[in-house]
Assembly symmetry: D2
């Protein structure tokens, strides 16, 4: 396994990555991108074991509701890059099972690849979303055929791919890009049915980074995003060669959607658990600032907080139900229930803006205008800022200001905007989340119930 | 135990009950009220056992999540009067435990009473909500001191009570009125801290019945409410004497709220299970009518149904979470988690109107204007009604008309209005349900999460 | 002109109309349908003038914002049948203008017909909505070709039509059925492009009536629907011959949608004004019952009422804006602005269920269970009902009970269900109302504003 | 009058103002604060007239609906500092009228002051919101008596004030601080009933600035906030002497709330007009990005945009209704209707988060991750960024990226957060806006309507 220091060095591998129009010489030493590297390095150090052949402790396959719960708890404390590596490996193994019968050779390649990755202790990021071009047209029917990643050449020893993948978290900080189709493909779209692993430093890979990280001199006013942030990569495959042993799917359109679905099985629960935590945090912030403002007993404030905590409870109940009703596969792998998970994520995403509105309504304008930490240190006005940001003897003005900064950072500044958009877009937007929920809902039970309630059971045989 | 026939006879006991301004001579034979009696009689027959000392099978105390689930399932198929009798007896036993230490004599009376009720196989209804007068004033501060049921006289052998209890389901069809305070009382309100059992035919008890039952000649257009309905009793205690052995609380204000809370523990889960069922029914109706209209694949219709099924899933997930996280008392009695139950009922109540709006939006105007069943039997127009109510070869016009009648009955007619109001008011209105949710939510966890997320853990000791 | 008495007699003309499976011998004398006739008869008496050639005062063409306002006010006090007659005549004249150039002969027929109707002082109802069959298919592509009214035979002197029109308010109480297409037709659907006038007593016309009218013995508990109700007709054209002079459109598919659109111009404003009135009523009921309950100063009650009154104000502001921004045609006819009218009706329809939910939340369970008026007259319990329905000295129990009955009747009983569905369905359901709003919104202005706000005006020429 | 250049010099007057912990030597030359100064300077140049005694053209008093409309249009194009100066002067004159009778001397001082300000062509900012301390307590009952600005000393020639005013837009860029009470005061709170004018450079005035201005090197990715931004001042009165002629209220508690109310009359309409513009912009952004994504004809996208444009229309209709129903005072000054204005602002504020949610849902993840303008200029990846940000031949990738940046800047970054909080908080939060709406709604009309609709007019005399 690698130590954090070894990991940092490993990134200096000639990768072509860009930030604000300039190439980045060494990601680990970049003033902004380097912070994400630091976080990933700490993940390496946390799980490091010196024995040859050791595998990270985070690589566990849950086989029961109990173990699903433990997995959720562990991964809540893990850095993002470690987490996505885990999800990627599990996705690959799940996919291998599913194509075993039809494409045994590809399944074998996947298993060999996973062994290699674990042996080298590499980090994998997930390249799914294509540029997509005109959303109303199929991949094969675009003005520019490269709007979905595709095979542009097939050689003896591998393939050449072209296209771009968007919103790839921490793409510049991993070693390998798990490149899989964004959706199911149809006959005639074989070139788009490509899944493969691409090293970040492969020739032709170019990554443009964007981030919500604050650019302020003093990042103490950004207690969350100033400490930790993850850039998103705009990953371009400018005719990249991929050797055959790293190609897991090429041309079998019928399996194109399966990789993303397998990933979903592994990503979903973590996303819901994070939502539960965020909902508790929003509710907690509302209560804390209400108390600091002296308003926690005011009727309309309590009403808003009640609505918030009920929403938190609803989201949490879906997590409970999803874990309790997990499906254990024939191989003994436990997956959370898809319906409850989706319904929970949907409710969390759809109501995020309302939760934030309540928080802003309760908190007041100082969410935006609280003096900065440096202002509190100024000899001329610091003590006055503290005096007037305090509200009563028991509430220190500096504490209250810090609370406002945390709320602003989480909900009303660059990171807040990132949260708002990301919650909605994760899983393909609210519309896609509704479709998935519909797919898993037991509509026959609902129709039977309606017929029973309506005294129409005589029609059940005919209608259901 | 009693048979259904014996039960019917038992109601002819001189009780004073009124319907539409007239006294009802014999409830069991009344054309409208009698239908509820029929339903209760069938409950008697279902559970009848001839052995002396037998107790109804429905009288079980759950001791685990598994048994809670079974209880829910059993009570979904039980008639209302049997169900409220069960909940009443359990409430009394729970209350007996809670006052055991402070009021051992009262606890003993309760236990003796329960033995008697079970021996006689009687039915109990629950008298809780007072007339309440001016809602902004306490019981002891009303223009009319009788707005909350109170003790107006204390005698050697018992007490005399006066007041009224409102919205008492099936009050005229039971044998005993479990009369308990609507809320907690304070010092100075001792006369209002009264809990006792009153026979329906006690002198001074007068009940005015109201009901959503259709008055139409042909009730086939009301496939739900035409078959089954429960009148609500406006129960007046016009100076009713209650002998001491039936008085379970008199003057101990500190215990006044406990009876209603104990009842809540037993009523809550059934209410949530019914909500889950109703939500599935609303979703199922929407899907059935969309299919009958040829619209099940239309975008905006699917979107609305998706929103409905997600809400159904949210409510169901709270039921799952409430049962899984049940609290088992020292005595081994399992109660569902109060937070999840309340959040689920709140969400169900708050979104009922939206669910119904979606159903009406999807169904169309024929919810209101579908010809009646008798119209379909008319020789001159029946076949034409059938022709034009049909939409395609696979959809019979009569089936579709019946579906519309069921939807109208359930959501857009007298029973629909009853559903709308009752869902909101059960548990005291949306405001009260929010309060209860707030009481049970783990706000300290939420505040700690907020502090952690906001990088403010340094303040945790001070703030939490 | 006709007097009310003459009108009543005129209905005894051999029309085939049905109620609850039975033919109705004489509509004016029917115990339920007759009440609507009474209302229409009073409209006749109100506007009666003995002079030959007189025309009802309600037949005015507005030519300015000021006159639009007056029209709205007048029609708020007019009975439904008089109102729909007015709207029908105006629709016909508007349509005549629009087809003048292309189909001068048809325009002439319309004008002649209008003269005749005004001379005879007849009442017209509006037959628009077809049975529609499978909503996902065009009229010409149904399993049953009669699902939209169509011409089945063309003769020398007229046409024969077949089909059904649904939800036709007061169809059995008028003299003439203005039968127009429900929507635009395409090439190949010429037989469905038919607009004509059909006497209610024409051979082959059969009407099935449905109504929300209460069937209770004592209708005093239904202070609204017990006094006034309008049945909906399910109007069947069972091969009805229509002479040429009453055929206004036959086969010109390009004009099929124009009649319904012209009707919309005249119906819309009245619908919005009624919505404004209903919203004020809902808000007023909420305030009245809050005051009667002693809750008008309670925080959460005030919040809900505030939300209600803001919604009332929003709907009212669209009425103000629609009238102020009316478009006056070249002929000097003033039509309300289509965008504001639609947005207002949409908001009113979409939020109706929330308004009602708030009202039910504020009012409490006695909306359902208040004793009936007859109960208050019973010697044994009447005085007790009054005592306990009262809340304080200033609130009479009978007044409060009547308030509950009015709220139940308006929102939580048969008429309440009718209100709920009708508000959503008027104008074709919420989806159709959104489409119409989109058609009239100035999207170019919005896009230009976005480009300006976003500093992207450089792209305006290219994009707009 | 002053030119822009003279204005810039005038700010170098020894004022004590702070930014990120450091004193600002010269506001006009500060890299961030200076941008706001530039904007204000352009306002000076725009209205400059060389004649002695000239007054800015923007200083007009509307006397009709027509002139109100013109005022709104003019002020939409005016810089913030010019606008608040206008509103301040009008507020002072309105207040002078209102105190004329009771406090003629104070009224005279106001008028003299206004003459002076106009002669010197100064800019005024509005200091209203106090620090407020514990929101559940009155000003006189705080742990720290300085939580509301108060008079701490009264001298022969003036008063000394202490306290802080928060969220004061552009406080550091004006010449004068119009310091008025945040709310009505009661007997015993006379020291808090203080209204006066304070020069920004008065001894003891200290201002801490905060701003959403981007700190990025390349502000082209912030097409809105990178060009224009207004800092908020945290204005501290650290024992500031105010000479008598600048004191407009001192100790007359009964007039304390009047100044803020007068300001409201002048600020309200501009705020609503800005909301109308923002709503159109949000709708326009949604349509533009949907078109750029090829999704403008997709069902669920159209539905969301329809909901957005209906909301835009509702807000616009309140502006129309507020202007049309303006109240003209005895002096001939036209004020917009308070109810319509408030309802419109409330609806706009309450639905802002939903509008933004829809925009984020429609736009997709590239709102966050679109490459920066500088990335498009990089030789190595610029052309690829453009290729993959394009969606079809007609949509240039750079245009689409700029559209994403505008959307992010407006809704999902620092300025977006500022918009979200400010919309809710303007006017005191949603709760306060509801109260104001309630105050102006004609509840008697609503109650009368309810009684009429409910057939209860017999009670009208008694109840209304």
């Amino acid at each position: 396994m690698m130590t954090g220091a070894e990991y940092r060095q490993s990134l200096n591998d000639g990768r072509e990555t860009f930030f604000e129009g300039e190439p980045v010489a060494n990601v680990a030493e970049h003033p902004i991108l380097g912070i994400t590297v630091d976080s990933a390095a700490s993940g390496y150090d946390r799980f490091y074991k010196p024995d040859a052949g050791a595998v990270g402790e985070f690589m566990k396959v849950p086989s029961s509701a109990e173990e699903l719960r433990e997995q959720v708890e562990l991964h809540e404390t893990v850095d993002l890059l470690t987490h996505v590596t885990y999800a990627s490996v599990m996705t690959l193994l799940t996919a291998a099972d599913r194509i075993e019968e039809s494409l045994p050779e590809n399944a074998a390649r996947i298993r060999a690849y996973v062994d290699e990755v674990q042996a080298k202790d590499l980090r994998i990021t997930q390249c799914i979303t294509d540029a997509k071009g005109d959303r109303s047209r199929r991949p094969s029917n675009q003005d520019d055929p490269d709007q979905f990643v595709r095979v542009v050449e097939r050689r003896q020893d591998g393939i050449v791919i072209r296209g771009a993948k968007l919103h790839i978290s921490a793409a510049s900080m991993g070693h390998e890009l798990m490149t899989i189709p964004t959706k199911a493909m149809k006959a005639g779209e074989e070139d788009y049915a490509v899944a493969c692993m691409v090293p970040v430093n492969a020739t032709g890979v170019k990554i443009i980074n964007t981030t919500y990280a604050p650019r302020h001199e003093d990042t103490r006013d950004f207690p969350i995003s100033g400490q930790q942030h993850t850039p998103e990569g705009f990953v371009i495959f400018d005719d990249v060669f991929v050797p055959t042993e790293r190609v897991f799917l090429d041309g079998h359109a019928e399996f194109a959607g399966m990789f993303a679905h397998s990933l979903g099985l592994w990503e979903r629960l973590g996303g819901l658990a994070a939502m539960v935590r965020s909902y508790d945090a929003l509710t907690g912030f509302a209560q804390l600032i209400a108390e600091a403002n002296g308003l926690e007993k005011t009727g309309h404030i309590r009403e808003k907080i009640s609505e918030m905590l009920i929403n938190s409870t609803l989201v949490r109940s879906t997590l409970e139900a999803a874990v309790e009703n997990c499906q254990v596969t024939a191989d003994g792998v436990a997956f959370p229930d898809e319906l409850y998970t989706n319904a929970g994520k949907y409710h969390g995403a759809a109501n995020w803006s309302l939760m934030v509105r309540h928080l802003h309504d309760i908190g007041g304008g100082s969410i935006l205008t609280a003096p900065g930490i440096a202002d509190f240190e100024n000899q001329s006005v610091g003590h006055l800022a503290r005096k007037y940001m305090g509200t009563m003897q028991s509430v220190d003005g500096l504490y209250r200001a810090k609370l406002f900064h945390a709320i602003r950072d989480f909900t009303a500044d660059a990171y807040g905007g990132w949260n708002a958009v990301t919650n909605i877009q994760a899983g393909g937007g609210l519309y896609a989340q509704r479709i998935v929920s519909r797919l898993h809902y037991d509509m026959t039970r609902a129709k039977r119930t309606a017929l029973e309630v309506g005294g129409l059971s005589e029609f059940a045989d005919e209608i259901l």
